[in-house]
């Protein structure tokens, strides 16, 4: 190990001597991570000094941290010096030239999901000019947003255009040293979204990363920051139901949400990264830190997630309920199949008076997968009258998968009430029999039952997402029966 480390360091150093700066426009960084890499990254992005400082500070913190091992997942250790931390947009010549060159399996999935033809090409990473008319999208989107005063742009752009907001809020919810992956992200984040909803504004449309131009190249260390000023409202959609082709194995994203008085943020995610093949080979490692701070009175945050992709998922969208009467919600469907492993859940930290939270988590495991709910509900001494309700249900499909529940409940307030319940069951023979008897084939029957199982969560999703999510489960569960 020591030798390889040294070799890598040697390599990096050597390249530095040769003056890599001239090459930066067009190339991908050599694998490896050190302060020079971060300086280079910051330079390419032409970031102001304060960002570089911030990144370096995070990097130094990261060096002192140890990779967490408590999650109920098992995977070979990641060699952080074997990853390239910057990659310029791909040249067209390197991409598949037409849909004919794309994995037919992927195309079959698109078909089942009913994805429009022109979008398929973009999703598969095919080099086609103007896959769908980005100019028109830009105008139809940008005009009403600008009129409303909403800022919705790549975070790298926000660093230049709105440094005062970035300085104020970046890292205010997830500090650079929060955890191992958050620190790594803070040091090397590639890009992401910045959303700012001014006081009293109800965002005129649902904001979606899927449609944001250049979203395709946010890279593996995505960073999202949403600030909802007093009395504002925004619904934000992340990801899309179609499986995305991606070369990066490690994804360590950070999402921060700041919610002020009377504001509401609804954050919906559909995550369907490549889960690896049926033997558990390949697949994305998805290590995400998502946290919302309900700072203001009567503020509300709602996380809804449908997680079907990634080989390893490690994700706990959390709410810090600081403001009086603030509300946190978490609705989750996590589906694992084949050799996927998911350890996901939420944290509800009740600090203010009369804060309320609801957690509905549905885990579905099939094949040889492992699916864990891990959650924390905490009441501080000042959380008078706070309430939480938690329900975690697991559904097992097949006898070689695992479903786990690790709820942590901590209370320091006598007037706080928490109720937690969890059940585990399987698709029962009776249910199957009933469906079969009515001429429904087994695969469809399972999908119907699973959809019913997840209904409570799907109804929280924006409409078009909900329809897609249903289909997505169907596709993901393929081959789990019979």
């Amino acid at each position: 190990m020591a030798t390889t480390d040294n070799e890598v360091k040697e390599l990096i150093k050597r390249e530095y001597e040769h003056g890599f700066v001239t090459e930066i426009e067009s190339d991908t960084f050599e694998p490896g991570l050190n302060e020079d890499v971060i300086r280079r990254l910051s330079e390419i992005k032409q970031e102001p000094e304060f960002m570089l400082e911030w990144r370096l500070k995070a990097y130094r913190r990261w060096l002192d941290m140890e990779e967490p091992e408590w999650a109920h997942v098992d995977f070979p250790k990641v060699d952080y010096n074997d990853i390239s931390y910057y990659s310029a947009p791909k040249k067209k010549e390197d991409m598949p030239q037409s849909l004919d060159e794309v994995d037919p399996e992927l195309l079959r999935t698109y078909e089942k999901l009913g994805i429009p033809l022109h979008e398929r090409a973009k999703l598969a990473g095919v080099a086609v000019d103007a896959v769908f008319d980005s100019v028109s999208v830009a105008t139809t989107f940008k005009e009403p947003l600008e009129k409303a005063g909403v800022i919705f742009c790549p975070i790298s752009e926000a660093v230049h255009k709105h440094p005062e907001l970035i300085k104020k809020y970046l890292g205010s919810v997830v500090p650079a040293g929060d955890n191992y992956f958050a620190a790594l992200n803070s040091a090397v984040f590639s890009d992401g979204s910045f959303v700012y909803i001014p006081k009293g504004v109800r965002c005129p449309m649902e904001l979606s990363t899927y449609f944001r131009i250049n979203a395709a190249n946010t890279g593996q260390f995505e960073r999202t920051l949403i600030v909802a000023e007093e009395g504002s409202y925004v619904s934000y959609l992340e990801g899309c139901t179609a499986p995305m082709r991606d070369e990066n194995q490690l994804h360590a994203a950070v999402v921060e949400i700041v919610v002020l008085d009377d504001a509401q943020v609804k954050y919906s995610t559909v995550q369907n990264w490549y889960p690896g093949d049926e033997h558990g080979k390949g697949g994305i490692y998805n290590f995400v830190t998502k946290r919302a701070a309900c700072i203001g009175k009567n503020s509300k945050v709602s996380w809804t997630q449908v997680e079907t992709g990634s080989a390893i998922t490690w994700k706990y969208p959390s709410c810090v309920l600081r403001g009086e009467n603030s509300v946190g919600e978490f609705y989750s469907v996590a589906l694992t199949h084949n050799h996927q492993q998911a350890d996901t859940g939420t944290k509800m930290i009740h600090l203010g008076k009369n804060t309320r939270s609801t957690i509905i988590s549905k885990g579905i495991s099939a094949g040889r997968s492992s699916n864990a709910y891990r959650g924390l509900v905490k009441f501080g001494p000042a959380a008078d009258g706070a309430r939480n309700f938690t329900q975690c249900d697991s559904l097992l499909i097949g006898d070689r998968c695992g479903a786990h529940t690790f709820p942590y409940i901590e209370s320091k307030n006598k007037s706080a009430i928490v109720e937690h319940e969890a059940t585990t069951s399987k698709v029962s023979d009776e249910q199957m029999f009933l469906c079969r008897q009515r001429g429904i084939d087994p695969e469809q029957a399972v999908s119907m039952i699973v959809n019913g199982f997840c209904k409570e969560v799907f109804k929280e999703l924006p409409m078009e997402f909900a329809v897609e999510a249903g289909k997505l489960l169907e596709v993901s569960l393929e081959g789990s029966v019979g």
Binding site: S394, C401, S415, A416, E421, A422, T424
Partner: protein, 428 residues
């Protein structure tokens, strides 16, 4: 990374040499594994909430001598074995010599018998989860072996009174091993009491193996005083059609920890775990239970209730693990908590780990306070607020206390509970 504190080497020197040779050898071997044993910290998952209460000093490392007097509060209505500071006291004990039933002090075992026992000691426990059972393995000065042959039935409950006489600082390491043969039956009561107010450390291990069809009822009453830190572990292995029932009643102290591990290795085994904990003042109590469904068709049922008053801290961690192929398992875990004052803390973690699909598992946990409407109902019928509080709090745990199958234990627990209510609800 800060170095985790280690168990002081002062704890590695056992005192009593009266044990038979094979057990001395076992103890020595176990002690060698303890060198540089890290003590739990906040980062140790299964000690997360309790590590700050663990305060072991070198003065506490020496074994307390088997003398001094500690009064037990239990009016014994059956056979009796008395341990004083971890040493069995034959003069104070009164147990039968029956066909098919062996009740014997470890010190009285022949080398051959001790050889057999040495292989069994510790076999029921997962020492990675119950770290301090290792320490007991290295330090036990004496112990009690109970063997029931097939079909043997102990006609009266066996009371084991553990007295800790802490006139000076020190520790006690009592150990009990119960082997219940096929279709045998026993009720065993363990009571932990103490006298004296020097800081003492009690580290216990109790093990049960249940052969096919065996039926064991275990009752554990923890009533030690304010100077005693107690870390106990109970390991249970159940074979085909066996039935184990456990009732634990615990009163808080500076540190109270009980690990209860049940492994269902034979089909159609059944286990039922009940527990009640009350804490007040600055007391602490931590119950960690785990039930492993290794074989198919087993049932487990677990109900724990905690009440925390003043600035006390009660913890429950229940784990149900359904192994692969343990189909048709039925597991139900329920934990309810009553937090009586701001300043008190309750932490609960009901875990499920499931690797088989045809199972029915559920757990529920709540933390709350007395229901205002119920209090109002009682007030409207002329019952004072204090009495209403006591009544409702009592009802909260009575469901479990009333299930204890021995009246004498129920009564003893009730007296202590009444004291608790007196103190907790006096100011209202």
């Amino acid at each position: 990374m800060k170095q985790a504190p280690m168990l002081s080497s002062a704890f590695l020197h056992p005192a009593g040499q009266t044990l038979p040779e094979p057990l001395l050898a076992l103890r020595k071997q176990r002690a060698s594994l303890l060198v540089d044993m890290p003590l739990p910290t906040r980062k140790t998952e299964n000690w997360k909430y309790s590590s700050k209460y663990l305060k072991l000093t070198d003065e506490m490392a020496i074994s307390l001598p088997a003398e001094g007097k500690a009064g037990n509060s239990l009016a014994v209505s059956g056979y009796k074995v008395v341990f004083r500071n971890g040493i069995l006291i034959p003069e104070a004990s009164d147990y039968p010599d029956m066909d098919g039933i062996t009740i014997q002090s470890f010190s009285d075992l022949s080398n051959e018998e001790a050889d057999v026992l040495a292989l069994q000691l510790g076999s029921t426990l997962d020492h990675d989860q119950a770290q301090f059972a290792r320490l007991n393995g290295a330090r036990f000065d004496d112990g009690l072996l109970v063997r029931l042959d097939a079909d043997a039935v102990l006609d009266q409950p066996l009371f084991i009174i553990h007295e800790t006489a802490a006139d000076t600082s020190g520790s006690a390491f009592p150990r009990i091993f119960v082997e219940a043969g096929a279709n045998s039956r026993i009720t065993l009561v363990e009571e932990y009491t103490s006298s004296g107010d020097a800081p003492a450390f009690v580290n216990t291990v109790t093990e049960f193996t249940l052969a096919d069809g065996a039926n064991v009822t275990s009752i554990r009453l923890n009533m030690e005083g304010e100077s005693v830190q107690h870390i106990g572990a109970t390991g249970v292995v159940q074979n085909h059609s066996s039935r184990f029932e456990s009732h634990c009643v615990g009163f808080g102290g500076p540190l109270r920890r009980h690990d209860l591990q049940v492994r269902l290795v034979g089909e159609e085994a059944e286990t039922k775990l009940n527990g009640v904990v009350v804490t007040q003042g600055k007391q602490h109590y931590d119950n960690h239970t785990s039930i492993d469904h290794v074989a198919a068709n087993c049932n487990s049922e677990e109900t724990y209730r905690n009440i925390a008053a003043d600035q006390s801290h009660a913890i429950f961690n229940g784990r149900i693990h359904i192994h692969q192929d343990a189909q048709k398992s039925f597991a139900d875990m329920n934990n309810k908590n009553l937090l009586l004052n701001n300043g008190a803390e309750i932490d609960t973690k009901p875990e499920l780990e499931i690797y088989a699909d045809d199972v029915k598992c559920a757990h529920g946990a709540t933390i709350g306070q007395l229901d205002e409407e119920s209090i109002f109902y009682l007030l409207s019928r002329g019952i004072g607020r204090r009495d209403a509080n006591v009544l409702l709090t009592m009802a909260f745990i009575n469901e479990l206390v009333s299930q204890i199958p021995l009246e004498v234990v129920r009564d003893t627990a009730q007296i202590r509970l009444n004291e608790f209510f007196e103190q907790t609800f006096q100011e209202i």
